[in-house]
């Protein structure tokens, strides 16, 4: 109980969650984020035709949300221009370097002599990857990008605009995507090798549903006296929160209600540590202690120099 209280007051007051939303333009990323957090988190330039950026940009928007005494500082990073060009070689570079820059910033602060007590955490906790609903399989660009991203950040693949596919088409598409992911050894979140035994059955269920087929909407409609979020068309209403219509509710539950803490924790513990290890090892490759044949302990080396 006490931890609950204390964590509400202190740790979560500065709880930050960073998400990167990636995908080609027009896939409904901003709408999706707004639906997820039920607030206009991502600003959409509706109506105006924005000139397509000539490079893949990385844009971040920070907002502070509060619910039930819990305050969440949410940062959404969007990647307009990704995959929109004719030649998309290296379009993932700005994104990868952005993610690594955040890790680098944290590492630098952590290593300072006079460091802050609460290091501002701008590391990306989750990357939502939007797959266009072609109905075929993962494109080569998707494969390339996912292969590079899954090693540095938690990746959650999502099929955007799922209302263009019927349920059978959806199931087949998901099958093919899952096959593609395993063929190319792309590890998406939740990671199988790091999970605890308690979470295993839950995570299995989530993995069976990957990638989530979502529909986003911020317009409310009234049906039988109930207010629902959905997309209305001539032949019917696609409800966002209806589990039989799309996987939005499952995704939202996983992302926010059950796995948010794990996303933040695993970024700090695994991806950040991997980055740190790689970064510190490259700087000291020429100075491996030959006597022990292992990485030299920093302190040992420093103590040696005092002899």
């Amino acid at each position: 109980m006490r931890t609950y209280h204390q964590s509400t007051r202190r740790d979560l007051n500065c709880l930050k969650s960073d998400m990167v939303i990636k995908g080609r333009s027009g896939l409904g990323k901003s709408t999706f984020v707004n639906t997820l957090f039920k607030a206009t988190v991502a600003r959409r330039k509706s109506g105006e035709e924005e000139p397509l950026p000539s490079t893949t940009e990385v844009k971040t928007v920070s907002s502070s949300l509060s619910e039930g005494g819990v305050r969440l500082n949410l940062t959404i990073t969007d990647t307009p221009g990704f995959g929109d060009h004719i030649n998309n070689e290296n379009c993932w570079e700005p994104i990868v370097s952005y993610i690594e820059a955040q890790y680098g910033r944290y590492l630098q602060e952590e290593q300072k002599v006079d460091r802050l007590l609460h290091i501002p955490d701008t590391r990306i906790h989750c990357c939502v990857y939007f797959i266009p609903p072609t109905g075929h399989s993962l494109s080569s660009l998707d494969v390339e990008v996912l292969q590079r991203l899954d090693k540095i950040v938690n990746v959650v693949p999502v099929v955007a605009k799922a209302d263009t596919l019927t349920l059978e088409e959806r199931a087949a598409f998901k099958e093919r995507i899952r096959a593609d992911l395993s063929d190319h050894a792309i590890k998406v979140y939740p990671l199988q090798e790091y999970e605890d035994l308690d979470d295993a059955p839950e995570n299995m269920k989530i993995r069976e549903r990957l990638p989530f087929a979502v529909v986003g909407s911020t317009t409310w409609h009234e049906i039988h006296g109930k207010k629902l979020l959905g997309r209305r068309s001539n032949w019917g209403l696609v409800e966002v929160e209806n589990k039989s219509h799309n996987d939005f509710a499952y995704m939202r539950d996983m992302l926010i209600r059950t796995h948010m803490q794990d996303l933040i924790g695993s970024t700090a513990e695994r991806h950040y540590e991997n980055f740190r290890r790689a970064r510190l090892s490259t700087k000291t490759t020429s100075k491996v202690n030959i006597v022990n044949g292992q990485d030299t302990d920093h302190m040992e080396d420093l103590n040696e120099s005092k002899i």
Partner: protein, 422 residues
């Protein structure tokens, strides 16, 4: 070809506060955190400092309601030593790894000047171990068993007068390294009125000497009132007991005297319940935080600065840890190289010296050998001459002998002839 220019993301400096139009669900985050922490288990390390026989082990037993196996220490130890034991306790589904560190032999020596060095060294070593783990390239901070001391209970002798000088000196040394909580031990030896005066004296002396004991946090609204009240009651006068006595129809922890029974859990008898409340039930987490954020950071800063690291380089440019480390490494290598060269030179010199020495000895030996050989040859010749002469004499003698023999024979025959003529 799409240019690969990395644009620095324009971060929205003003974080906007948004209103939610529905239930999102991240208010379950504290629950997620709690579940995660409970799964990992908690660690808590207590250091008990006090003279032998103060009742430290008994108090620990009483606080945690178990009996930790510990033998009472003798009074004859030559120096202060620290003994630490780790126990795994479990209550409902919360696991606690408790480490209790005891000072053995504190205050028993004639010269108590060095009493606190062992304690300070121990605390520093725990910080050092953590710092080493943190600086490693391949580290696992979440799996690391945190052995830094979170709370230090300092047991004050119930003399009734005030703090002893060793108490003041020791607390002063420790107040910047660990959360010091002074307690009055064996409080059943002091009466109520004496106790209030004693407490006042202690607080006065602590303030006069500038010792910063641990204050319970008062910034949290829910606990602020209780904590401020408790802060005024420090030091807690405690009584510990491992014996249960039947009082009324319950078995309570108590100490039974002929004139009455001191109940440990009775608020009017002693402050034990307050100590337990503050130490375990309310502020355990805060103590861990303060240890990590204040004491450990202070230690880390000091150590890194003594090693020559700083955040600002020579030209007042911000220097990263890596750069300084690289510099030091290069310097160190050069130093080692220099030493190696020096040693090699001295080695070469020594070798030359030894060589010349050996050569001379060799020469000497040769000359000796030559003379000896010559002498032997001369002696041999002499003896051979002698032998030759002897041989010649022998031959001469033989010849003469033969001559005489033949002469005798002829003379003999002559004489024979002579006698016949008559």
């Amino acid at each position: 070809m799409a240019a690969v220019a990395v644009e620095r993301p324009p971060i929205d400096e003003k974080i906007r506060t948004l209103k939610l139009s529905g239930h999102v669900g991240f208010d379950s985050l504290p629950d997620q955190l709690v579940a995660k922490s409970t799964q990992n288990g908690f660690t808590f390390n207590i250091l008990c400092i006090g003279e032998t026989g103060m009742g430290k082990s008994t108090l620990m037993d009483t606080l945690f309601n178990t009996s930790f196996e510990s033998n009472p220490a003798p009074h004859t130890l030559p120096a202060v030593k620290l003994k630490s034991h780790t126990y795994e306790l479990q209550e409902s589904n919360v696991r606690l790894k408790l480490t209790i560190v005891d000072t053995v032999g504190y205050g028993d020596q004639i010269n108590k000047g060095d009493s606190f060095t062992a304690i300070v060294d121990y605390i520093d070593k725990q910080f050092d171990d953590y710092l080493q783990e943190e600086l490693k390239i391949k580290r696992s901070l979440s799996a690391y068993h945190d052995s830094r001391i979170h709370a230090c209970l300092y047991f004050i002798c119930p003399t009734g007068h005030g703090l002893k000088s060793i108490d003041l000196v020791c607390m002063k040394k420790l107040d910047s390294k660990v959360n010091v909580i002074p307690v009055i031990a064996k409080a059943d030896t002091i009466s109520k009125s004496e106790l209030t005066k004693f407490k006042q004296r202690i607080i006065q002396e602590i303030k006069a000497n500038g010792i910063q004991i641990y204050q319970f946090p008062t910034d949290d609204d829910t606990m602020a009132k209780v904590n401020t009240e408790m802060n005024n009651q420090i030091p807690f006068a405690v009584v510990g007991s491992t014996d249960f006595v039947r009082v009324g129809n319950k078995m309570l922890r108590a100490r039974q005297y002929p004139w009455g029974t001191v109940q440990v859990e009775n608020e009017s008898h002693c402050d034990f319940t307050k100590l337990r409340e503050m130490l375990i039930r309310t502020n355990m987490e805060d103590m861990r935080e303060v240890t990590h954020q204040r004491h450990y950071e202070l230690y880390r800063k000091k150590i890194l600065e003594t090693m020559g690291f700083s955040d600002v380089g020579q030209d007042n440019q911000p220097v990263s840890f890596q750069q300084t480390f690289e510099q030091k490494r290069v310097e160190h290598r050069e130093e080692l190289q220099r030493k190696e060269d020096e040693m090699r030179q001295t080695f070469v010199l020594r070798v030359k010296e030894k060589e010349t020495e050996l050569k001379e000895v060799e020469k000497e030996l040769y000359t000796k050998y030559d003379t000896l050989k010559r002498e032997h040859a001369e002696e041999k010749k002499r003896y051979e001459d002698l032998k030759k002469r002897l041989d010649e004499e022998k031959a001469e003698f033989q010849k003469r002998k033969h001559q005489v023999a033949t002469q005798q024979l002829t003379s003999h025959t002559l004489t024979l002839g002579k006698t016949k003529k008559k």
